[in-house]
Symmetry: C2
Subunit: 166 residues, 2 copies
DNA sequence: AAATTAAGTCAATAAGACTGACATAATTTT
DNA sequence: AAAATTATGTCAGTCTTATTGACTTAATTT
């Protein structure tokens, strides 16, 4: 009974859950993605385009299958986004040298420029956040975020250029 | 000319951008949200329901307008989600005592239970990530994440119970 | 020659957001 | 007391990003 009774006390850290970091992550990630979103809007692109463009720039020559694995989306979801980026000249495709069924994806100079422009405000935000921090905090943050990822995915992260450095 | 030329070298940290933390945040946030998403699926709920339920539990008695401000969405977006949570008995509404136009939102016991169940895997993930960390890392991470949020929003974060403690 | 694989495409669906317009009830201002 | 404003709710339509399922084409493997 009393199933519809209102509970008037808030959930707090005393309930054994780290709400502070849970909420900090929510707010931080929201503002973190808002920066590039505003730029993407001017190009008629969305967050999905950003992710594709980012990883093609970080791993030039990766295949469609590899990109799908990193992004963890379906090829139908990728198709629309990738087609636009290719049509608009941000990404070019080449048949794989070994296996010609594969398509190797490379950024053009235009694609490289946009990827950098999108990363810049995010990098600025990170740098500003670390400026208020103590020495060593940067490494602590990188370690923490890496440990937040499922263990089986961490090797994938380490394949990214300089992915291991802090 | 040569606008369609492929660029074969990857973007790296040498380009002056902290790609490591940018990508760490992407992967960490993806796995961080995947935990509750799996639970929500069983209830026929989505991530939007989670956010509403979370903040109603953290700030019991908040009004619809206050909730909209925290979530930064429109009332039409909130409507669908909130209606389901009320209809299914996770949240109850009461007219505001001062201003009867307002609706104060409270969790029921059922809503409290679900909010805790959703927070638990996230809290476990955070605790596990901090266990591999050095002492003091926890505070450094909280400071960093807070500094990643737009300054004008930080007072709002501090209003959450124990929001300031590390 | 047959089976498998990489990629592309077509169609339908869903969640979660949006804008714009309008309704109702309660409060505040004039 | 009447008018204006405010808090909430609702209707209708749109957009982005994702999904599943089915099928095609071309290339490689068995």
């Amino acid at each position: 009974m009393n199933d519809a009774e209102p509970i008037k006390t808030p959930l707090t850290l005393d309930d054994g859950v780290d709400f502070a970091i849970i909420e900090h992550l929510f707010f931080a990630y929201r503002d973190f993605t808002a920066d590039p979103d505003a730029i993407l809007d001017e190009y008629g692109f969305g967050r999905a385009h950003h992710r594709v463009l980012h990883f093609v720039n970080r791993l030039p020559g990766l295949t469609v299958a590899e990109l799908l694995e990193v992004l963890r989306i379906t090829k139908q979801s990728l198709a629309r986004v990738l087609k636009q980026l290719v049509d608009d000249g941000y990404i070019v495709q080449f048949p794989g040298p070994r296996d010609r069924r594969q398509r190797e994806l490379y950024p053009t100079q235009k694609g490289r420029n946009l990827a950098l422009a999108l990363a810049l405000p995010q990098s600025r935000r990170i740098r500003a956040a670390l400026e208020e921090a103590q020495p060593g905090d940067s490494a602590a943050v990188a370690r923490f975020l890496r440990a937040m990822v499922n263990p089986e995915l961490r090797p994938q992260m380490d394949k990214l250029p300089n992915g291991r450095s802090k």
